[in-house]
Symmetry: C2
Subunit: 488 residues, 2 copies
């Protein structure tokens, strides 16, 4: 024969060769240098190297990679944009990472039935941007929404500032296509019709942190833009007055679209950051409150909010006078975590949930934890739904200070659990809070969940070692079933 | 000794004696005559006799009965008020029925955090009645709400007319205490703090039709009464115009609290029933539309609704002028099913869900099914969320007509499934629609659910033979696990 024969590359690792056959040579990273960026996600305290990273382009390729891994006992996990804050996408077991960033398309929009179908790698904010000209938007708005993917949002059941009124991701998912850990593909309510009979697999998958299956297609609810919005900024001399105002606003029958709070340290941080708005430097708390809906109803709600704030000794309260002013307030809030970098070399963000009425008590406890640890703690959080974000400021260059910060973080979560709260609102458990699961679940309650995991995942190859306390229980299904039916 | 010794009764069946030891003699029914009222629920087509009915008074007694049944291989199931419409509480396997009607207390109300804790036998409407003086209510409102229990609502994930805006039961459940089929008691988010980490067991239990566990305590969300309500009644000459108006209202960005529809035959029925309101007898459709919220915003929504109706050739449209008039319209709608008794000796109610935009097409198909079967079909339903209720009118005294009605019912569900819909919106699958599950789930999708059932319920003693197509798969967990990991 004439012409040059293209030489077929050979790989030391036969698994790499097979993965390349499945997804194509350009879609597999396997050299050490290329893998380095995949050794952690938004939780940077732990690092571990993957075996390879593959970039499937469709459901069939995801299923084929999964089937190959399952048949060869190779651990694997899915990854979106890698913005998760609890380490859910870190390859603790030298996993093959299945990156979904090339499955990044908006597949269809059905305005009449108010649904859109997206691939898992589609970026959250792009959905709103794609439909806003028709007057629609997608409600869940994590602060990372300009980069995080909807697949990752499903895995973590992501929240955001506007989830007080509109609910978190699980409230906006209408259908899922899922590759199970054995490579089987199932569709759950694929046409987005609500109230499907049978067990709520959609709810089970949403927020399962990538431990039950890999989502390859998502039908989401889209909402019509509210006719109007009004945004209020309120400054309080005393943090307790601000906390009480939060409960009072809800008790008055108002459900704001967002009800955010920052304390003194947080305000110092955001004012030193990239988007300062000129908050006073001597207040203990500010509230950022937004209401939306039919324009005619907003004025009345704003009046009630102002009345509540005044009754709680507000120092100053103002309503945004333009979309530009509103935008500046929100940029100041939404970049708040990063802004802490301006006042501290390092920070650890925590994520606890408490009953709204215990806000004053828990903020006091966090302040005590700060004093005891000698570390400053900033609070910048979704006050309306009781979702706290204590930011523990520390300097990792000082020996022992990282450990001190981790300890203070755990103490904050304990303070939330102790008032009947939860250890995570929206950032997930991942590897960061596995042990803290014991704060809120009994052994029986953890076992009920582990049994479900084992059903989907009997060989524990998918995202192993996440979400539940270590050591994981052994995978003896027969024994578990026997235990289950034993009469106690 | 002096005095009379109370003779201890003996029972032929040793199980009865033991059940009496657990809950007390007055709390066990075991004689044939007493058991007769428990041979069916709101789905009266099938009947079967229970072994006994027990009435536990607290969680410990429920758990003890369950442990006893599990240890002795006795099938058992839970029952609330018995108003379920799909046969979920029928003792197909001579079950011990665990009736929860004596666990009927409102345990606590926390207005500040907007939660109430109830026992499963607490009647739905009593919750709203108990908190209305403080200005609060419980949103899910099945038509049977004056008698059905919240425990039953959780089992069936009950809906209601006002679920279009406020969501179904699962959207209002914040915590559950559950007795598992082995007698273990677990609490899920017992303090009602949202966004608990781990798997969404609460979602999984809600709507599982009593096949995964027995709910013994429920934390529910309570809502502040909306400041105002406005209700519209619109009459259409043509059913297609009414259907299109439904989609147009939603597309206009309005989310009504309720958006109900009745067709010509349904109107004939309700006008012949106990609560006539004088609807014209020559229209093809009426819409009952309610908006609620801040009073100032309602007028604008009503104007938009009137505009949409006019654009769709409405014959007449009116706004309720008093709470009394509004109440009459709702009584006419909410007693609609029963009213069919005035125009037909028997009726079979079906419950399908469709994408809202397919309403005209599916109503046309149902009309064809009516013509083909020779049976009249009335439609009275939650149009806003595409939840159809075809009522098939028949006369069971005519040989073969019951079978004809059942066949027409199945055809209606098939018509819903064929446009991407579902076979039940709120009535559940029970025993009525087990086979129809195949219309919407593949074998793999049914298996994924069965595997979950087996984990909770390895001996298949709890509410056996419900929810999934018969014959149930055998309970060989090892084989299932092996199948699961087999590479396909």
């Amino acid at each position: 024969m004439f012409g040059r024969t293209k030489k077929k590359k050979t790989y030391e690792n036969p698994h790499i060769a097979r993965l390349i056959e499945i997804v194509g040579e350009k879609e597999v990273l396997h050299e050490q240098g290329d893998l380095l960026s995949y050794d952690c996600d938004g939780f940077t305290v732990h690092k571990a190297m993957p075996k390879a990273v593959v970039f499937p382009k469709n459901t069939e390729e995801v299923a084929a990679v999964v089937r190959y891994c399952a048949a060869n006992d190779i651990p694997f996990l899915a990854r979106g944009a890698g913005t998760g804050l609890s380490g859910g996408a870190i390859p603790l077991n030298n996993e093959v990472i299945i990156s979904l960033v090339k499955m990044k398309h908006l597949l269809s929009v059905d305005y009449e039935n108010r649904q859109a179908v997206v691939q898992p790698g589609f970026v959250n904010l792009k959905l709103t941007n794609s439909i806003s000209d028709k007057g629609y938007y997608y409600a869940p708005d994590p602060s990372s929404q300009y980069v995080c993917t909807i697949g990752g949002n499903v895995a973590e059941n992501a929240g955001g500032a506007h989830c007080l009124k509109y609910g978190v991701t699980t409230n906006h998912i209408l259908g899922l296509e899922v590759v199970l850990p054995n490579g089987e593909v199932i569709e759950i309510a694929e046409d987005g019709v609500p109230d499907s009979p049978g067990y709520d697999l959609m709810g089970l998958l949403t927020g399962s942190e990538g431990t039950l299956g890999i989502v390859t297609k998502i039908t989401v609810r889209i909402l019509k833009n509210p006719e109007g919005k009004q945004t209020v900024l309120a400054y309080f001399d005393r943090v307790e007055d601000g906390s009480r105002a939060v409960s009072d606003i809800i008790s008055a029958g108002i459900v704001p679209a967002a009800l955010e709070m920052m304390d003194e340290t947080a305000i110092e941080g955001v004012e030193a950051g990239a988007y300062p708005v000129g908050h006073p430097d001597d207040i203990e708390a500010l509230l950022l409150i937004e209401v939306d809906g039919i324009t005619a109803g907003l004025e009345e709600q704003i009046e009630q909010i102002l009345k509540v704030c005044k009754a709680r000794n507000v120092r100053e309260v103002k309503v945004a006078e333009s979309e530009e002013e509103r935008g500046r307030w929100w940029a100041n809030r939404k970049t708040g975590f990063g802004a802490m970098g301006a006042i501290s070399p390092d920070y650890l963000v925590q994520d606890g949930v408490i009953p709204r009425s215990t806000l004053p008590e828990v903020l006091k406890n966090i302040s005590d934890i700060s004093k005891e640890s000698g570390l400053r703690i900033a609070n910048i959080f979704h006050a309306g739904d009781g979702n706290l974000h204590p930011l523990i400021l520390f300097d990792s260059r000082i020996p022992g200070e990282t450990e001190k910060a981790l300890k203070a973080g755990t103490a904050c979560l304990k303070a939330c659990a102790d008032v009947g709260g939860s250890i995570t609102g929206e950032h997930g458990v991942g590897i960061e809070k596995k042990e803290e699961m014991r704060f809120i679940f009994s052994d029986e309650e953890l076992e009920a969940q582990l049994r479900i995991r084992e059903v989907f995942n009997p060989d524990d190859l998918l995202n192993k070692g996440k979400l539940f306390p270590t050591p994981s229980r052994c995978m003896d299904v027969k024994k578990i079933v026997k235990d289950t039916v034993a009469v106690k």
